[in-house]
């Protein structure tokens, strides 16, 4: 468990009081203001128990309510959630924290300085933040997964995983991360679990692209 540092004094003059409203209007964040800080979410969170990680759902909600926009959106913690819905299930106030954190991730990417956000709203020009390293990784994975669906209608694992491992963390040296997965990949190859040909389902692909296009034009 990580300890909360008590020596930092929060400067509320520098906070953004409208940040909570920004999260509430984002799909998934509707119930944010119900939170009464009982800490059920943090106590059931499996990631919070892993040493070295910073995720603390209760703290994130409090920071959002206080309006610490920069601190929340630039933190590693919002990217460490594995999306297991334990907190959503246990919450007595039905805050649905898993959806809140997805909303926070979207806001974070949208207002980051990187050109990462595809298939959706345009970026906020002002109030930019710097996306954390974890955020870039997770978003680049999500993006490549989505691109795979756009390309084939279904996901084609070798294509998007290969692309993620190659380019997800910076091209020449980031690709070395692939060696960590080598035993899993070799296992897949020896058990004939890798699909060598793309899923060729043209009507589905065409319609999926249409859905993405319509959703994109709607968001603008």
């Amino acid at each position: 468990m990580n300890t909360v540092s008590m020596d930092k004094i929060i400067d509320l003059n520098a906070s953004d009081p409208n940040f909570k409203n920004e999260v509430v209007t984002e799909p998934g964040g509707q119930h944010l203001k119900n939170c009464f800080q009982c800490s059920s979410c943090t106590l059931t969170c499996p990631v919070a128990e892993v040493p070295g990680l910073e995720l603390n759902p209760r703290k994130i909600i409090r920071e959002v309510l206080l309006g610490l926009r920069k601190e929340v959106l630039e933190s590693k913690a919002i990217w460490q959630c594995v999306g297991c819905f334990e907190c959503t299930d246990r919450c007595p106030q039905k805050v649905r924290f898993t959806e809140v954190i997805e909303a926070l991730r979207r806001i974070s990417v949208r207002s980051s300085d990187k050109k990462l956000y595809i298939f959706s709203k345009e970026k906020d020009k002002n109030r930019r933040i710097k996306l954390s390293k974890e955020g870039k990784r997770k978003h680049s994975f999500d993006k490549r997964f989505t691109e795979s669906i756009w390309l084939w209608g279904r996901t084609w694992e070798p294509e998007y995983i290969g692309r993620y491992l190659m380019f997800g963390r910076g091209f020449p040296f980031g690709a070395l991360i692939g060696f960590r997965y080598i035993s899993m990949i070799l296992g897949m190859i020896t058990k004939f679990k890798i699909e060598f040909f793309p899923p060729w389902v043209s009507p589905a692909r065409r319609e999926v692209r249409k859905i993405f296009k319509r959703a994109k034009s709607k968001n603008k």
Partner: protein, 293 residues
């Protein structure tokens, strides 16, 4: 009995043994699985986090196809797929404005609540019933007398208000299935703890810690095999087993991971190859051989 079947992307190759064994078990139980024509990916948790509207749109397309094919009951074997199908239907039924917004993306609109989608486990419980499964079990199968634990993972039961399948804190149906096969299900405290497989390619150390705790705990309660109902859990627990145990310093051991359909298939007397047991990462050969002698 005829029901709709949504395989999902990973079932075709990445978890082909799950797909194959589900078909075999369904055949034995007299279930006819009708695959959705021209289905697309459900988007798992990733598309939702990039663009929520498009994420729901592509799920609603699958539901619309099922409605067009006159399918009343749609079974998905991947828990992430079944969660997306159930939750999109639930959200469209609850909020009509939202439903219209999603339907505007589709060519053929979907009427909320016209298709009931559920996980394959729920089909076994609600549509077939445990007595009928018990009739098909043959005595003297290789799993008889073995000790196993049921591992549910996240999406089979959670979030409880949307999935509405079992008690999210202590689900018991998979334990019952293990028991009727002849094996003994053990008390397993980590039954519903997450294995973190959604972050497998992004934050490997986290996933290894979470998974390692589950595997070591299963060994500690005395299990000889782990039963899962999710191909992502299998990928994390089975495919990454060695590294995960190493990460939490759990010692040196191997524990076979079986899908619930493979367990039922073994109980019904189906053979090793037809259930795809040779495709599991940790070979269950040793576990099944001991029983024969």
């Amino acid at each position: 009995m005829k029901i709709g079947y949504y395989p999902g992307c990973s079932l075709h190759k990445l978890a082909k043994e799950y797909d194959r064994s589900v078909h075999k078990v369904a055949e034995k139980l007299g279930l006819e699985l009708e695959e959705l024509k021209d289905w697309n990916c459900c988007g798992a948790m990733e598309v939702i986090s990039v663009n929520p509207l498009a994420g729901k749109g592509i799920v609603a397309r699958n539901l619309a196809i099922a409605e067009k094919q006159n399918i009343k009951l749609l079974a998905a074997v991947c828990p992430a797929c079944s969660f997306q199908l159930i939750s999109t239907n639930y959200k469209m039924a609850q909020n009509k404005i939202h439903a219209d917004e999603i339907n505007a993306l589709l060519d053929d609109p979907y009427t909320p609540n016209s298709v009931k989608s559920m996980h394959f486990l729920q089909v076994l419980r609600d549509e077939i019933g445990i007595e009928k499964i018990q009739e098909k079990i043959v005595p003297g199968n290789p799993l008889e007398g073995k000790k196993g634990v049921a591992y549910y993972g996240c999406f089979c039961t959670r979030p409880g208000d949307i999935i509405q399948f079992e008690d999210p804190d202590n689900p018991t149906f998979m334990d019952e299935l293990i028991d009727i096969v002849g094996a003994k299900s053990l008390y397993f405290p980590m039954k519903t703890k997450c294995c973190g497989a959604t972050q497998l390619l992004v934050a490997k150390p986290t996933v290894e810690t979470l998974t390692g705790n589950i595997i070591v705990n299963a060994r500690d309660v005395g299990a000889e095999f782990i039963v899962v109902a999710c191909q992502m859990c299998a990928l994390a627990i089975d495919g990454q087993q060695k590294q995960s145990i190493k990460r939490v310093k759990g010692g040196k051991f191997k524990i076979p991971v079986l899908y619930i359909s493979q367990v039922l298939g073994l109980g019904m007397g189906l053979d090793y190859k037809s259930l795809g047991l040779n495709s599991n990462y940790v070979s269950p050969k040793k576990l099944l051989q001991k029983a024969k002698t």
